[in-house]
Amino acid sequence: MSTPTWKNPIVQWVDHRLPIVTFLDHAIVKYPTPRNLNYWWNFGSLAGLILVIMIGTGIILAMSYTPHTSMAFDSVERIMRDVNYGWLIRYLHMNGGSMFFIAVYIHIFRGMYYGSYKEPRELLWIIGIFIFFAMMSTAFLGYVLPWGQMSFWGATVITNLFSIIPFFGESIVQWLWGGFSIDNPTLNKFYSLHYLMPFVIFALVFVHLWALHTHKSSNPLGIEVKGDEDEIPFHPYYTAKDAYGVGLFLIFFLGFTFFAPNFFGEPDNYIEANPLVTPTHIVPEWYFLPFYAILRAVPDNFVDVWGILPVIISAKAAGVIAMFASILLLLVLPWLDTSKVRSAKFRPTYFWLFWLFVIDTIILGFMGAKPAEGTFLLIGRLATAYYFLHLVIFIPLVGKFEKTKPLPESISAAVTAGGSDAKEGS
């Protein structure tokens, strides 16, 4: 792409010194995009929009929030009751967290279905998993701030996970707490980090986009762009499509915010934190439930059964390792997947494996919300086993043995031939 000349003299003057207009022209106006992206491709920009909404509402909330154990809960209630439109800002922020995860989970599953993580987009995928990880820590830190019962006890459970680290575990936990229990120093620390993390995410998103714009978007057919006829400029085609998606998503998001703002929340968090009263069930926010189920799935006698490293690994440690492994494994997914074909459209066996995996994570979510006992625990364990089987065994094997369907010659050939592919692009 050549450097365009701009008619407006001021634009020309600025662009000559700082080519920001040219940059934007390349990045979001003329940016060549496969012509067949379907609506599942909307969730990336949606997630970006929610990040901006979260930072905006968060900065306003911070103006009226007090990070002190004796005042945090009341300061949030003051925002809800006495600050002008405080309830709106706070409910937007609260529900925005859930929306962020909904968008990102769909975005991740889309990447899995269409094999978007494959060569040459491995780093793009890995940075994405980093963003997901950063989001999880941000959400956890933020959930502690209202200083309700679940804030306090959730923080207790999660910070204690670090105690499994050999030799240094206890010191690390005390360092996180800033003392010998979760208390005011912890709250101050978490507040500071919760304010920091969104900007880390923002920087990671920038790198994510940089990698994206290097090899451009993948597409539902999973074949490379062959020429100009396969591509359309981002503007006006995808700006228009994304804008429509934003409209639909806002209806969904604001529907919850205005009419069921506490739908995603735990009632217990409207009870002020009390270190002396443990809630009957400590349940994390819904978006952590699958991982919570994995954490609790490892049996107490796991070590004896397997007889591996019995000295170092306790059942709790194994649970924590399993939980972190369930996320970290996603980092190597581009290499676990041995198939040359990207899209599940042309992979009849993987198609089923993908949906089984989705169902498996939903089952894990259900079990994460239930007490870890009896049938629930058993189902949780089976689903956990399947989660790892899918990633470590099925994904590598299916790529080797699967008979894939023939790929279309090019994107434009598939689109102009009509059928469902053309429709998806429309």
């Binding site: 429509y244 409209g247 639909l248 209806i251 205005f258 009632p267 069930h281 939903i362």
Partner: protein, 262 residues
């Protein structure tokens, strides 16, 4: 087609899984029956007459043990009391004013007490939790300001609890000083049955049955927990209408733009 069914099933499952956490019923507690509340639904609103009755139930019955510490006297104007009435209500309470402007306390070190003002928080029945426990055989009457948000199925639960006192079944071992109530987790509750027919004499002449009082106090507590509810839903309806029209227009724009391509 098959894929679409899968997607719908997925979205449905996603939502039920989200539901699974918050809606889990407390162990061993009876399921509260659903009542009709004016605050329900897209067009939910506050019935101010009912809220005033609810305030009467709170101040004449509940307030002897329970606080609503997040609510101020001035807030009572929102449920239909005039500024003068609010001043009068506030003045009936005694507020510990602390040292006066000159830093003086009473000679005996006791705090100076003055009549309440609209800008004061509604005065709690006990100065602190320990005093509350000491006066209630060790049990702590919880603050009620967020009660309907802090319990699953808040309003229905509260109404069921207040009207749900019963004789304990013969095989149920009731601890001393406890009362049987199947809606409370564990089925026994320290609070004695608070409502009885004609427990208050309503200023507006409504017959004060247990059911009526229970509904009124619950409605009042819904307001206490979510004073923004009415404004929120009204604004929500406008925002939704705008978004639906705006999104339809965006869809038209999208169709128009993409039409060039085919």
């Amino acid at each position: 087609m098959f894929k679409k069914i899968l997607i719908v099933a997925f979205v449905f499952a996603l939502f039920s899984s989200i539901n699974a956490g918050p809606l889990q019923a407390a162990e061993g507690a009876a399921h509260p029956a659903s009542q009709e509340w004016t605050t329900d639904g897209l067009f939910g609103f506050f019935d101010r007459k009912q809220l005033k009755r609810g305030w009467q139930v709170y101040s004449e019955i509940c307030a002897s043990c329970h606080s609503v510490r997040l609510v101020y006297y001035r807030h009572l104007e929102e449920i239909g009391f005039s500024p003068d009435e609010v001043k009068k209500i506030a003045a009936e309470a005694e507020v510990a004013a602390g040292p006066n402007e000159d830093g003086e306390t009473h000679n005996d070190g006791e705090l100076i007490v003055r009549p309440g003002k609209p800008f004061d928080k509604i005065v709690s029945p006990y100065p602190n939790d320990l005093a509350a426990r000491a006066a209630n055989a060790g049990a702590l009457p919880p603050d009620l300001s967020l009660m309907t948000k802090a319990r699953k199925n808040g309003a229905n639960y509260l109404h069921a609890l207040l009207t749900g006192y019963k004789e304990a079944p013969a095989d149920f071992k009731l601890t001393e000083d406890m009362n049987y109530n199947p809606y409370f987790p564990g089925s026994q509750i320290a609070m004695g049955e608070p409502l009885s027919d004609d427990g208050v004499e309503y200023a507006d002449g409504t017959k004060a049955t247990v059911d009526q009082m229970s509904k009124d106090i619950t409605a009042f507590l819904v307001w206490a927990a979510e004073p923004e509810l009415e404004e929120r839903k009204r604004m929500g309806v406008k925002v939704m209408l705008f978004l639906i029209i705006f999104t339809a227009m965006l869809y038209a724009v999208k169709r128009q733009v993409w039409a060039k391509l085919h």
